[in-house]
């Protein structure tokens, strides 16, 4: 079994309450940070830990903290990104609903390190039942003296609030999130000049980190940054939550030590437990819907033939030609029966729906890709549609305000790169393709 730093207590009954959380060592990292470290020393620990952002981009967390403009004289804000909307990703939800104090403790330590006195948890609005869980946990933390004025007699004060989104994937992008938090439409801002570290929330320096990133600060302080860095492999230090879904025996959220072989993750009973119904593995999207899909041979081994590992580096080996990304840890498994075209069409529909519409390559391109994929999947496609898709995807890349455009383009390019014959089949076997779709209701009525 691999090492657990975030989920080791998750199944303890009552762990969502502060009393039980504290009985299992909760808030000891906060006490340690406040009594033994200056704010800068906390940042040093996080730098030494090698922690990288768990929201998807994998940027070094400690380094990101040092980018904050400390000299502006303006207040500094801390914002937790709990928008979790990337298809395939459901790990933050697990922490939020099961062990809210872990995030709160991590946020208080982080706020102390960066000198923030106001912090917000921006959580997707659909998590309606989690709002009361967080509100209760925040009230408990405040009553215990971990929030509010003069925390643990340190002279440091912090107010921490939960803020709801209202259904918009784009608000997971950090500048769109800040727009939304200011009460606006979630249109991403131009960078430069709107780097959150300098011109963030209310035009003040702002740190945006993912739920899991902020939670990981707790074990980093407990262990010390250097000890944390010994876990994992190379520059992929520590543990990572992976949310596994699709055609597997045991879907769910797993904490892995970075460096675990992909094959072990898929087939071991400690994790996914193998492919459902004894079927064969066909493909995997390893890091949320925005990263390139890989066929079975390339997900289990790199093009060079070495075992693929669950690390930022190993998954990326081969670039976008034969590799992919660890991303958000949304691990989607496809068995031999899965239709790549159909699945890609639903993802294209998702990106088109979620485009904020500010940039024409993204607004129009996502619409085109959805339309063409619909056509192919519904037996109305032409051979030239396949190259048309590649072309539209290419025209989005690098020409947009935020990365959503690319997030929509990459999956299309990758699916065609690795599964072109399947797209061609949809053109050469149109009536067969149509039948599959239209039979689903009758099949359903029989099985009911």
């Amino acid at each position: 079994m691999s090492k657990k730093l975030l989920l080791h207590n998750i199944d303890i009954p009552g762990i969502e309450t502060i009393d039980i959380y504290r009985q299992h060592g909760g808030y000891s990292a906060l006490e340690k940070a406040f009594s033994t470290f200056t704010p800068d020393q906390v940042t040093e620990q996080v730098k030494a830990s090698g922690l990288r952002g768990r929201g998807g981009a994998g940027f070094p967390t400690g380094l990101k903290w040092t980018f904050l403009d400390r000299k502006s004289g303006k207040p500094i804000y801390l914002v937790c990104n709990a928008d979790e909307s990337e298809p395939g990703t459901f790990k933050d939800r697990y922490l939020l609903e099961k062990i809210p104090h872990l995030l709160i403790e991590g946020m208080i330590i982080t706020a102390y390190a960066i000198g923030a006195h106001k912090a917000y948890i921006y959580m997707r609005g659909e998590f309606k039942w989690i709002f009361p869980i967080l509100e209760k946990a925040l009230a408990e933390a405040k009553a215990a003296g971990f929030l509010g004025e003069n925390i643990l007699n340190s002279g440091f004060s912090l107010d921490l609030y939960v803020h709801p989104g209202a259904g918009a994937y784009i608000c997971g992008e950090e500048t769109a999130l800040l727009e939304s938090l200011e009460g606006n439409r979630g249109n991403p801002r131009l960078k430069p000049p709107y780097f959150p570290a300098v011109m963030g929330l209310y035009n003040c320096p702002t740190l945006v980190n993912n739920v899991e990133t902020l939670a990981a600060v707790v074990p980093i302080i407990q262990l010390g940054g250097e000890k944390y860095a010994e876990i994992g492999v190379g520059k992929s230090t520590g543990t990572k939550l992976i949310s596994a879904s699709g055609h597997i025996n045991k879907p769910g959220v797993y904490e892995i030590e970075l460096g675990l072989p992909v094959e072990e993750f898929i087939y071991s009973d400690d994790y996914c437990g193998g492919i459902k119904d004894g079927k064969q593995l066909k493909a995997v999207i390893a890091g949320g819907s925005s990263v390139p899909i890989l066929p079975v041979d390339l997900i289990l081994k790199t093009a060079a033939g070495t075992p693929r590992l669950m690390t930022y580096e190993s998954l990326a080996e081969g670039g976008f030609i034969t590799g992919t990304m660890l991303g958000s840890g949304g691990f989607i498994v496809y068995d031999e029966t899965a239709c790549i075209v159909r699945n890609l069409w639903t993802l294209a529909r998702f990106y088109h729906h979620e485009s904020c519409g500010q940039c024409s390559p993204c607004r129009e391109g996502t619409g085109w890709m959805e339309k063409v994929l619909f056509r192919l999947e519904h037996g109305q496609g032409k051979m030239s549609d396949i190259d048309l898709l590649v072309d539209v995807a290419k025209k989005i890349e690098g020409k947009t305000i935020c990365p959503l455009g690319e997030a929509a383009a990459w999956p299309v390019a990758a699916a065609i790169r690795h599964f072109r014959p399947e797209f061609e089949y949809h053109v050469t076997h149109r009536s067969e393709v149509m039948d599959i779709n239209h039979n689903s209701i009758s099949a359903m009525l029989v099985s009911a």
Binding site: T89, G252, N343, S440
Partner: protein
């Protein structure tokens, strides 16, 4: 079958789908008003517009599950902002309903990972059972069927959200059971 739907910007620029119907009630209860005041002070002075989305959720909740023009104007008046600033925001976010909806809104996830485990079948089954299409409300006003994008519940697919709850690992029989329960309430 129709593939089209609009991106957020188009729904804003071309035509705002704001209803001309009115809602029965459009003032917060004293308890909600107390909550409103608590929410507003979470944001720095002068930044009270940040409270807009939280207040729209409260309004939708309290005024029949959707946002009528009066409800939005009312929220604008509380925050002392222009009504158009509220419309602009309400039209962007998919959780805000700008038309009346049924008592139970069935929001079924249709995105890829759920698709792998039978989301389409669940959607078709609901259409058949309720005898309505996506976006429609049943004749008795009880159910509205809506498809939504990934709700971070992909490991327990197929799934839907109804009100505060996620209903996961759906099967035809679990749906039958839920519909019966809601119909008899």
């Amino acid at each position: 079958m129709n593939w089209t739907h609009e991106t957020r910007s188009k729904s804003m620029n071309n035509h705002i789908h704001i209803s001309t119907s009115t809602s029965a009630k459009s003032e917060f209860s004293p308890a909600t008003m107390a909550l409103v005041n608590e929410i507003i002070i979470r944001y720095p002075e002068g930044k009270h517009k940040s409270a807009l989305i939280p207040l729209l959720h409260l309004a939708q909740n309290e005024f029949g599950g959707w946002l009528s023009p009066e409800s939005m104007d009312y929220v604008a008046s509380i925050l002392k902002i222009a009504p158009v600033e509220v419309y602009e925001v309400a039209t962007f976010y998919s959780m805000f309903n700008l038309q009346p909806v049924g008592k139970y809104m069935l929001e079924v996830c249709q995105t890829g990972p759920c698709g792998l485990n039978g989301a389409d079948k669940i959607i078709n089954y609901l259409k058949h059972k309720l005898n309505i299409d996506i976006g429609e409300t049943s004749a008795d006003g009880l159910f509205t069927l809506k498809t939504v994008e990934c709700l971070a519940s992909c490991g327990t697919a197929p799934m839907m959200q109804v009100g505060e709850h996620y209903y996961e690992n759906l099967t035809p029989s679990s749906i039958d059971h839920l519909l019966k329960q809601w119909s008899n309430k």
